[in-house]
């Protein structure tokens, strides 16, 4: 359970304890790595403009805690350009992740010093060097298919001026901001390079607590353990977020969680919510909840109350920022919350392990943990002033990219609820005809790849092969000559389901076959004939590529039973235990109630070289 009630003093000593634990865990892991049956599940190449050894435990140990077995190889000291140009010769094994961290004073020291002396051209010279670093990173990003992380540099420390210098107080700050912004914007424009904000880490530590002058002069290692701890944790979170799905839904208590007071006892007019403390604290928490909703996190209620009382607050209380339509599912009754939370997961069609339960009652939290350990339970701090800070520091919703689908997920959920109302009043056939399904099938464009990667890594049920891939691997496939990465967008009269299906196929010119590597649909669109339509679209594509056969595999997993009979049901013949095949001419036709379009230009011809990615 996450409990952030501790004050600042004990938080500092808690950090010291964590630092000791981390160093011990990393020492032990390093000894195992040196041993005979060393196993690693992720390799990281780390290159720094300063001595980077001390960062290793802080990056590695948090990965151990989530069962990743990292090996970290440190590149040569202050050789970032060489690492960018020649990473294959610098790292002994090709890493899964490369992390490049730098400080401005290690790269543009002369320019910084000249700038402080009033040299008018110094700023431009610094900018040119930073641009050079950006293009080196760009080159590395093109040659390296793994994950690339770099830093926003912290405020420079080893300069003649200090933050409290009286002369030209804004100059150094302005220079740091200008260079950081320039670097950050340039890197952000290269899709796929991730930024670790060391400037923010330094702000969180405070300048005096982030720089260790003795270690700098003795070992060229400028940072305190406290800084390294925070920087390493942040980097580890980035690495984990690329591999682990984030939580999908917050299940909220109401009384003393969304507002102060108890609606059933105090009445709607006496609740603490609005423009005066403690009402402001609850209002700020509601703001955070709306922000989460905008990031694709669904909001649900589990409250022991009379349902009408709760909705009255939602509908009538002027301090409520949360409205009824923001809530995707609710169980407002007197049953145990451990039962209600199961109903909520079912209603939203998501796994119970992707729920986060937030309540102010320690008893409810303890009970949930005892009965539903797979749910992450978070206790609301006792002092309302602590709520926002505790909640916004949760790392449960960590994700590196927020796609358009994420942003509109909660609204799509509402459309889904309207569909369910229709489906309960009609037969299955009538329901399908009434839906007016439209499917657009297209070759993936660069802007689609984030969402496609997300689907590849989280779709469990309708997924023929369940092959997971990193964003960079997907990008490489989309750019390759023989591979095709397709997506579908699905909509109906209630709204847009968004990008909800992916097919990756290889064109085998010699055997005139289109071989399916990945075929998956989001569970949002299952059971409406979309899977059949997707196959029909693919057959159309096979014809254009002059292929006569479509081959596919089914690899059973613990969760993909819904796709188990898809291939035989659609006329595929078994080739062996895994592989299935069908002649293009035998692929079933499209259901007449579905409209299929093909947007964007096809790639024509078997194995034709066509590297154009955007249209």
């Amino acid at each position: 359970m996450l409990d952030r009630r501790s004050g600042t003093g004990s938080a500092q000593s808690a950090e010291k304890v964590r630092i000791t634990e981390i160093k011990a865990a990393w020492r032990e892991h390093s000894q195992q790595l040196a041993g005979p049956d060393a196993k690693t599940s992720i390799s990281i190449g780390l290159a720094t403009s300063f001595t980077g050894n001390s960062l290793l435990p802080f990056l590695g140990a948090p990965l151990l805690e989530v069962d990743l077995k990292p090996s970290i190889e440190l590149g040569p000291y202050n050789q970032l350009f060489q690492v960018c140009l020649d990473h294959k010769n610098i790292f002994k094994t090709e890493p899964d992740v490369i992390v490049l961290l730098y400080r401005l004073e290690d790269i543009v020291l002369e320019e910084l010093l000249a700038f402080l002396q009033g040299d008018a051209g110094a700023f431009q010279r610094a900018v040119e060097k930073i641009d050079l670093l950006v293009s080196a990173l760009k080159g590395l990003h093109e040659r390296f298919s793994g994950t690339l992380i770099t830093s926003l540099p912290p405020f420079p420390t080893i300069l003649p001026t200090s933050t409290s210098s009286l002369e030209n107080p804004i100059r150094l700050g302005a220079l740091h901001r200008a260079l950081t912004t320039r670097f950050g914007e340039a890197v952000t424009s290269i899709s796929g390079i991730r930024l670790c904000d060391l400037d923010a880490v330094q702000r969180e530590c405070g300048l005096p607590n982030s720089f260790d002058s003795r270690q700098w002069y003795l070992y060229r290692q400028p940072f305190t353990d406290s800084f390294l701890f925070k920087a390493g944790s942040l980097l580890a979170r980035m690495v984990i977020a690329l591999r682990r799905p984030s939580k999908k839904c917050v299940v909220l208590d109401c009384d003393n969680t969304l507002w102060g007071g108890t609606v059933g006892e105090d009445g709607i007019n006496n609740l603490e919510l609005g423009d005066e403390f403690p009402g402001t604290a609850f209002r700020d928490f509601q703001r955070l909840l709306l922000y989460w909703r905008g990031q694709g996190i669904l909001l649900a209620l589990a409250s022991k109350n009379n349902e009408a009382d709760v909705w009255e607050v939602f509908d009538k209380h002027s301090g409520m920022l949360l409205k009824r339509e923001h809530i995707s599912a609710w169980q407002i009754n007197w049953n145990p919350k451990s039962e209600n939370i199961v109903h909520i997961a079912k209603a939203l069609n998501i796994g119970i392990e992707s729920l986060v339960f937030i309540d102010d009652s320690r008893m409810e939290i303890d009970y949930m943990q005892a009965t539903r350990p797979e749910v992450t339970s978070v206790l609301v701090p006792e002092d309302p002033a602590d709520i926002l800070d505790a909640m916004r520091h949760l790392t449960l919703f960590d994700r590196l990219e927020v796609t358009q689908e994420d942003r509109s997920r909660a609204d799509m959920m509402r459309a889904e609820q309207q569909r369910e109302q229709l489906s309960s009043s009609l037969s299955k056939e009538e329901f399908r005809k009434n839906l007016g399904l439209r499917i657009d099938f297209f070759l993936a464009q660069p802007e689609d790849l984030e969402r496609i990667t997300q689907l590849i890594n989280k779709t469990n049920q309708f997924n023929l092969t369940t092959i997971r891939r990193s964003a960079d691997q997907v990008r490489a496939l989309a750019n390759s000559v023989q591979q095709r990465v397709f997506g579908i967008r699905v909509s109906d009269k209630f709204g847009d389901y968004g990008l909800t299906g992916v097919v990756i196929a290889v064109i085998q010119a010699d055997s005139r076959q289109l071989v399916i590597d990945t075929f998956l649909l989001s569970c949002r669109v299952l059971g409406r004939g979309v899977e059949t339509a997707l196959l029909a679209a693919l057959a159309q594509e096979a014809r254009m590529e002059s292929a006569d056969y479509v081959e596919a595999s089914f690899i059973p997993t613990a969760k993909n039973a819904p796709a188990a009979t898809f291939l035989p049901d659609h006329g595929f013949h078994a080739e062996d235990e895994q592989r299935w095949k069908i002649a293009v001419s035998e692929v079933p036709d499209l259901d007449s109630s579905i409209t299929l379009t093909r947007s964007g230009a096809p790639r024509v011809g078997l194995g034709t070289v066509d590297l154009q990615v955007s249209n």
Partner: protein, 80 residues
Amino acid sequence: MAVSSGVCQVFSEVLRIPIESISDDTSPENTPQWDSLQAMNLVIALEAAFDVRLSTKEIVSMRTVGLVRKVLRNKGIADA
């Protein structure tokens, strides 16, 4: 706890070597675990264990366990 055993304790924990193998003569030359990275960790651990701040001059002079004791004694830590 006597400080001398405290010094050995710190070295044993940071370098992960048996406490019995540590003497005043223990140095980077005869102890491969005492490399430059561990030298940094030793400084941090010694400062935490004895609640002192070591100057760069003191850090550079600490070339053996015996010399570490000497530095700590000079900082007024009895028995070191």
